[in-house]
């Protein structure tokens, strides 16, 4: 593979890694801090 191939492959792989990182980040940050300490959290369907 020549240099151009490596560069293009690198760009696509970086985009791939970015997408995975974005999905993981979004999953972690979901949820409301308002639920913390709520006595009836188990009853809550939110």
């Amino acid at each position: 593979m020549n240099l151009a191939s490596w560069i293009v492959l690198g760009v696509v792989l970086a985009a791939f890694a970015g997408s995975v990182a974005f999905l993981v980040h979004r999953r972690r940050t979901r949820g409301s801090s308002a639920c913390e300490g709520c006595a009836l959290r188990s009853l809550c369907r939110k």
């Binding site: 151009a4 696509v12 995975v20 999905l23 639920c35 009853l43 809550c44 369907r45 939110k46």
Partner: protein
């Protein structure tokens, strides 16, 4: 006589409320208390439910629920005369010695410095935004925080709790609670809302009410005041009240209630600064309501007053230990709230004393406990309104809505118009507007792909990397992105229907039919939202008060063909049935509805007979959809779709490209049949052979649909599936895609609402149903095509 027997246009007075449990409590909370006049306005096309006018707003009830409400002859005049006989007993004697001006919050006059209880500087002021359904909470939340949460004209649009910071006040947070009618523990929303408000972390409460329907909305206000949390009352839609000739003496009202009252119009951004100023003040100085006693000593003989105060004294110590305000604890104990009773940890003798006090009250008052407490609150509200509210005449909006309803909910016109509207939405979305725009975008993406392919060729980029960029990224992801216009247009129409108030009418009109298949009229809203996306549709099922209806609706929602499947239909029909895309689509939608009905009927009979939950729905006035709201929603949906295209679908496409380009020794394969993917999909292929879909590439495309339905198209494009299909197997593929398991995001929603077992059931069950129906469709197609 009962309400169901009352002729259209007739008025009578409620004598008593029969029934028991949640439904009965809900009727009382909604203002259907003994002595209240009701008028039957109309009946749904199939004769059930009934629309009634009570306390100035339109409410729908099923006939069997209405049969539990006993009436006595009389009209509004008789009721007013009774009220006049009772007279004003001076119960509203002012608790403050302020004069009318300056009132609370005017000219910097807020509170007595003697009782100042300021929070330390730097304390974060956490507010709860509470109010009944469809009173403009989310509109106010958006104005306060500058966010763009979805707003609709259907009771219960907010099904999730949202937080934000009030603009200009960085030390605040505000939480938009779901709409609730009371603080009774009958729905999870009510329990969670009251727990949130009572949490020591909550510093203040903004209670928003619809000023054009103030009596019923103040019912929740009184209960919130009993919680003794610093609060402000926001009278929303004041512009509408004024426009219809009404007015509210705000200073008088705040003096009687003992909380700051501010007239606002959230939609027009009026009065918001004053509201925030008051809210921040009461929270910072922890000024609780100056009044939380609403029972008059001489009201109807004073039985409720004596009972409440006796119970309050009895439970005072327990309430302090449980950190529940004594007044709230006492009313809830009398109403029979099991959660409060448990929290108070009463002794057996205390319980029996309280029971005896309540029984004495019931005998003296002539009403059962729940009705007596509801009546006490509404009596206070009536007197408050008599002193402070000049009721508007029948609003222009109401009169206009009644006229429109004569057609849209008319006996002979309702169903044809409903079908015509849905057909028009699909036709406009797919054929008229969506297809040309999609074609344009597709051509643009194709041209970009060719240009990039040419560049890569010139740079001598290796064939594998070229294939990765052109086949996977441009052809795969690009094929999905080109459907953005179709998705946006579908959501545009759905949000117009919801924002205008038509969705609530659809629930009203279809309730009778949906009950026959074991669902509720309210189920139609999640099902219609399911035409857009199953994830919000599953969440929207939270507006259903009954767990049974909720579960059934969630299980049926995936049978509604979501918009993510549109690209599959368009892709296959343009290849195999050119020029007949609209017809194919209508057939598919009809098939999904028919299969849904059959599944619902099977569920109804297999599940055995169980009591239907009451159907109580408020019909909002028709409104012109607000462009800003529709714009926000469309932006959200576009963003969400593009995010999915460049994350989940991009990842899935790259993985599929990798698996179908290399073998297990990571060597690039000459023919796709030697790839890793071909081997794995080949294991499952025999299962699909009876459907005419036995090729490994078809199976791969179907598997990728678990990640996101749009991936099916990109996979078909990357793998060249079209060459493996015949017209008959394309029909089979269309039917299987229509009915098989929803995507991972939708399954996760089902898991969140019903648990892992039901989520697994949905996957397996839908795949089975899809296989059986696709098999039938394939055999039929072999005979016809």
């Amino acid at each position: 006589m009962t309400i169901d027997k009352l002729a259209i246009g007739s008025t009578a007075i409620i004598d008593s409320i029969g029934g028991e449990g949640v439904g009965r409590m809900h009727f009382l909370d909604m203002g259907l208390t003994p002595g209240t006049p009701v008028q039957v306005v109309s009946r749904a096309p199939l004769g059930d439910p009934i629309q009634i006018l009570v306390r100035g707003y339109a409410l729908t009830l099923r006939k069997e629920d209405a049969a539990a409400i006993l009436l006595r002859p009389g009209g509004p005049e008789a009721s007013e005369a009774e009220e006049a006989e009772q007279g004003d007993d001076g119960r509203n004697a002012y608790l403050h010695d302020h004069n009318a001006h300056p009132g609370l919050g005017e000219g910097g006059k807020y509170h007595s410095k003697d009782h100042e209880n300021a929070l330390p500087k730097g304390t974060v002021l956490t507010f709860a935004l509470a109010g009944q359904q469809n009173c403009g909470k989310t509109t106010l939340f958006n104005v306060l925080t500058g966010s763009s949460q979805h707003v609709g004209n259907f009771p219960g649009v907010t099904v999730d709790r949202k937080e934000g910071v009030i603009r200009g006040y960085p030390e605040t947070t505000i939480t938009d609670l779901p709409g609730i009618y009371s603080l009774s523990p009958y729905t999870a929303e009510e329990v969670v809302s009251r727990e949130f408000i009572l949490d020591p972390g909550t510093r203040g409460l903004i209670n928003i009410v619809d000023a054009s329907n103030i009596e019923r909305h103040l019912y929740l206000t009184l209960q919130l005041m009993e919680l003794n949390v610093p609060m402000v009352l926001a009278l929303n839609m004041m512009d509408e009240v004024r426009g219809n000739g009404g007015s509210i003496r705000i200073n008088e009202m705040e003096r009687i209630l003992g909380i700051p009252v501010v007239g606002i119009s959230a939609a027009a951004n009026e009065g918001i600064d004053e509201l925030v100023e008051h809210a921040v003040h009461v929270a910072r100085y922890q000024e609780g309501p100056a009044r939380n006693d609403f029972c008059g000593e001489d009201d109807n003989g004073g039985a409720v007053h004596r009972c409440l105060h006796s119970v309050m004294h009895l439970v005072e110590r327990h309430a302090a230990q449980a950190r529940i305000p004594a007044r709230f604890a006492a009313t809830k104990l009398i109403e029979g709230d099991p959660l409060v009773e448990k929290a108070l940890k009463l002794t057996e003798s205390e319980r029996s004393t309280i029971e005896s006090i309540i029984r004495t009250m019931e005998e003296e008052r002539g009403l059962d406990r729940a009705a007596a407490i509801a009546d006490m609150r509404y009596t206070f509200i009536q007197k408050l309104c008599a002193q402070t509210v000049v009721k508007p005449g029948k609003s222009k909006e109401y009169i206009r809505s009644r006229r429109i309803d004569k057609v849209l909910t008319g006996r002979w016109t309702a169903f044809p118009i409903f079908v015509a509207i849905i057909a028009l939405v699909i036709w406009l979305t797919i054929d008229v507007i969506g297809a040309p725009l999609q074609g344009l975008l597709d051509a643009g993406i194709g041209a970009a792909g060719e240009w990039v392919g040419g560049m890569l060729e010139r740079w001598n980029v290796s064939p594998a990397v070229q294939s990765l960029v052109v086949d996977a990224v441009f052809n795969g992801v690009g094929a999905v992105v080109s459907f953005v216009p179709v998705i946006i247009i579908l959501f545009f129409f759905l949000s117009m229907l919801e924002d205008s108030g038509y969705m609530a009418r659809v629930a009203y009109v279809t309730d009778s039919f949906l009950r026959k298949i074991g669902l509720s009229g309210r189920s139609i809203v999640p099902l219609l939202i399911g035409l857009g996306c199953s994830v919000p549709a599953v969440m929207a099922s939270r507006t259903l008060p009954s767990a049974r209806d909720r579960r059934k609706t969630i299980l049926l929602t995936p049978f509604m063909s979501c918009s993510a499947k549109l690209p599959i239909y368009a892709f296959l029909s343009s290849a195999f049935f050119p020029g007949h895309g609209g017809l194919v689509l209508v057939c598919l939608y009809l098939l999904s509805i028919c299969v849904g009905i059959v599944v619902a009927l099977v569920g109804k009979y297999a599940g055995g007979k169980s009591e239907a939950a009451p159907f109580v729905l408020e019909l909002p006035n028709y409104r012109l959809p607000q462009l800003r709201n529709v714009g926000h929603l469309l932006w959200d949906k576009t963003k969400d779709f593009l995010q999915r295209a460049f994350t989940v679908i991009f990842i899935a496409t790259i993985c599929i490209w990798f698996l179908q380009t290399f073998d297990f020794r990571f060597r690039m394969v000459e023919a796709g049949g030697d790839s890793m993917l071909a081997w794995v999909a080949g294991l499952l292929a025999p299962l699909f052979a009876p459907l005419g879909l036995g090729d490994w590439r078809v199976v791969t495309a179907l598997i990728s649909g678990f990640l996101a339905k749009e991936s099916v198209v990109s996979s078909m494009e990357v793998l060249g599936v079209l060459g493996t299909l015949t017209a008959a197997s394309a029909v089979s593929m269309l039917v299987f895609c229509l009915l098989y398991s929803p995507c991972v995001a939708a399954i996760a929603s089902v898991k969140r609402e019903l648990g892992g077992r039901w989520a697994a059931f949905v996957v397996v069950f839908q795949c089975l149903v899809a296989w059986v129906v696709a098999f039938g469709a394939y055999q039929l197609s072999l005979l016809i095509l």
